[in-house]
Amino acid sequence: MNAQHLQPTGSAYFIAKETERPEIHTLSVLVDNEPGVLARVIGLFSGRGYNIESLTVSETEHEKHLSRITIVTRGTPHVMEQIKNQLERIVPVHRVVDLTVRSHELGQERPLERELALVKVAGTGDARVEALRLADAFRASVIDANTEHFIFEITGKGSKLDQFIAIMKPLGLVEICRTGVAAMNRGPQGM
């Protein structure tokens, strides 16, 4: 999101050409829910020049004060290994699972990923009818409306949300809010 992809560790000593191709990976990070823990994770990414495409965080186990952070990041396999190891150095980090690597191990293409968006569309007449019809086709639900606007709630893969938002643009799109990616692996096992 903020930092450009850098060579490993950002040192100018890495003048060797990077031969590995960058990949997009989704990481699940289980952390103690305590003050500053998100800042530690984000600071690690910005400080070491890693990339954040998406980041979501929420407490998932209240009694144990555990939160789960889902990070979508981009880098070569070598950088991915570094990111995982660096995250695990953070004292309140319990576990880091590269869901993308895990899904490959399970013989799957990629982990399950879902995102939620709220999409506000204002308009009247044909555009308004068209927006409602398309929302229905995308299985988006109306969570607020008056005679001049709708707010749609839509969940799905990021690409589905991108498509829906693109379609709504000429129909009076006012604003969008997206949650970022929530993800887990298929199958009975936990992270």
Binding site: Y13, I15, A39, G43, N85, E88, R89, H94
Partner: protein
């Protein structure tokens, strides 16, 4: 908090701080008072178990605590106030982070009710120190203070050691709560792996047993692991007959007088060490991290070797250099297994190593640390050699600042034991050595503690002379005075057409008078034939000494791997003509640090 009611004692937060220090075995604290830590200073005043050393600047407290830690193997402790006290601590915190030094920093903070209001001497201490600590805490509840300080000591001293900060608001210092003693209840998320994977260690021993051109490359991790690790390293070298080199941070883990020692490696390491690294077939990296000062150009680094890497920090593995056999664990524990397995399975065929040793002897014959002796001017290398000869039989500890003098010290002062050499390796902090020497001297009051300094570096923390005088710490500041920031000048010669932009100090203080002004002892020496007597005088004075050793102004530090070059492209002293120096680094290397 699960201890019995009997051990729970009610006390103020400030009392808890002092009690927690005592319970964690702390004897000395380096610090500087201020508004937000006054309650803690009031408690320190009323007891004798923990001695407080008053520095003259918070940075000095940090480096003193680092020197204390590195020379004892225990955590160093510093205590500073909020705002500027905390921001001045940032340099030593980052220094300790990069060199893996256990450092516990307690900071005062404005009262919780004022946090976020831009109060007087407020700063976001945990925010500022987050990237330069292993972990940090803001304690808002007095009932969590004791457990937090205990946890801070645990985190600082276990796993890969490092600095921690506990930020304590002033109202928490006044508040009353229940104290809990240290207990082993580490948080589940922090479990450093100390025992190495036995299968991996077996694989390493197999690889080593078949090596024709092996080299052991050891680092500061061996020293951090404790004296037993150094002992085991020596045993491993004896058993295998392998040559051994070390990083700047690891000097002393294997004795410089040992027959398998090939000297320090890296940018200013010996020719034989770097050539052996380049041409080896098996490399055993023990508690080091393939830093850019070690590897030179990465894609030409030891191209034909298979590498074993022992490190307690998994993120060090494969970070810069790919390793065939990674072993995650404490160096001491892993070496214990490795030595045992070697004894049980591998038969050292030392004869098989003869050709390799012959090759190393040829490289050694290049005499890469040679310099041209001068009878009118003191050569800096000669000064270090004489210092070594005259102090080697004493109980000596050496600290340094950062620059040419530091590299000459590493090259020409020879260390026989671990924990005797304190230098700022990773961060390269000018001004480290004088306060670090103070910290070492406080820990070892009867030892001979010498800061090998440069005239530029030493002026960065010179004010700690005053602290040394106050505590009768007879530290010796041996200044190689060439009136330049020598290493800056050397790089300007290498990279910038000899345009010496701001690397010459036109107004140099009179170090002899300065020493006297502080209440110390000043010595000046300008002639090689007067040097021995002057050094003897320095040793005999039971006072802090500033020794102004006037050395050849334009001497440069060789051998050197110029930036962007490989180990086998070293610039050797006898080849370092003005022209060679000017053309040593190409356009790509110029961008490097």
């Amino acid at each position: 908090m699960s201890n019995g009611q009997s051990e729970r004692r009610e006390m103020t937060g400030a009392e808890m701080v002092v009690q927690a220090l005592k319970d964690n075995g702390v004897k000395h604290v380096f610090g500087y008072p201020g508004g937000a830590v006054l309650p803690i200073y009031d408690e320190i005043f009323q007891q004798d178990d923990v001695e407080h050393i008053l520095v003259r600047h918070e940075q000095g407290a940090g480096h003193a605590a680092e020197g204390y830690a590195r020379s004892t193997g225990k955590a160093g402790v510093m205590l500073v106030t909020s705002g500027p006290g905390a921001t001045n601590a940032v340099t030593p915190l980052q220094d300790a982070l990069m060199d893996s030094i256990p450092l516990v920093c307690l900071t005062g903070q404005v009262p919780t009710s004022l946090i976020g209001s831009d109060a007087f001497q407020e700063c976001d201490t945990v925010g500022i120190t987050r990237p330069c600590t292993k972990h940090n805490w803001l304690v808002k509840d007095v009932n969590e203070l004791a457990a937090t300080i205990h946890e801070a000591f645990h985190v600082a001293t276990t796993g890969r050691p490092g600095p921690v900060v506990v930020d304590i608001p002033k109202d928490v210092q006044f508040a009353k709560g229940f104290y809990v003693p240290p207990q082993i209840a580490p948080r589940t998320s922090y479990q450093p792996k100390v025992q190495g994977d036995l299968e991996k260690i077996k694989a390493a021993v197999d690889l080593m047993a078949g090596a024709k051109r092996p080299i052991i490359y050891s680092g500061g991790g061996v020293i951090n692991s404790g004296p037993e690790a150094s002992h085991l390293l020596r045993e491993l070298v004896d058993l295998t007959g392998f040559p051994i080199t070390s990083t700047l941070m690891g000097l002393g883990a294997y004795p410089a007088s040992g027959k398998n020692w090939v000297g320090m490696l890296g940018m200013h390491g010996t020719y034989e060490a770097n050539m052996a690294m380049h041409d080896c077939d098996v490399m055993i990296c023990i508690g080091a991290r393939f830093d850019d000062r070690i590897t030179g150009r990465l894609n030409a680094f030891s191209p034909n070797s298979r590498k074993i890497h022992i490190d307690i920090d998994p993120s060090s593995i494969n970070k810069n250099v790919h390793t065939e056999v990674p072993i995650i664990g404490d160096v001491g524990r892993v070496l214990e297994d490795m030595v045992r397995l070697w004894r049980a399975t591998a038969k050292a065929d030392k004869k098989a190593l003869y050709p390799w040793w012959e090759q190393i002897a040829k490289w050694r014959g290049r005499d890469s640390l040679a310099y041209k002796m001068n009878h009118d001017v003191i050569m800096p290398q000669y000064a270090i050699q004489r210092l070594y000869e005259l102090t080697k039989d004493k109980d000596t500890y050496i600290t340094t600042e950062v620059g040419q003098h530091q590299m000459w010290a590493a090259q020409h002062y020879h260390f026989e034991k671990p924990n005797r050499w304190m230098t700022s390796g990773g961060l390269g902090t000018m001004g480290y050595g004088l306060p670090a020497a103070l910290g070492v001297q406080i820990a070892h009051p009867d030892a001979l503690v010498i800061d090998i300094a440069g005239d530029a570096s030493v002026q960065m923390t010179m004010q700690e002379m005053s602290a040394a005088v106050q505590y009768k710490a007879p530290i010796k500041i041996f200044i190689l005075n060439n009136q330049y920031m020598g290493m800056v000048r050397q790089w300007q010669q290498l990279l910038h057409g000899n345009r010496l932009s701001h690397s010459y100090t036109e107004a140099m203080p009179d170090f002899v008078k300065l020493a006297e002004a502080y209440g110390g002892h000043g010595i000046r020496c300008e002639k090689p034939d007067e040097l021995d007597d002057a050094i003897k005088e320095m040793i005999s004075v039971r006072k802090p000494v500033l020794f102004d050793c006037r050395v050849a102004n334009l001497a440069n530090c060789f051998p050197m791997i110029p930036s962007g070059k490989a180990h086998n492209e070293m610039l050797l002293p006898d080849e370092a003509t003005d022209e060679a120096v000017a053309n040593a680094i190409d356009a790509k290397g110029r961008e490097l640090v």
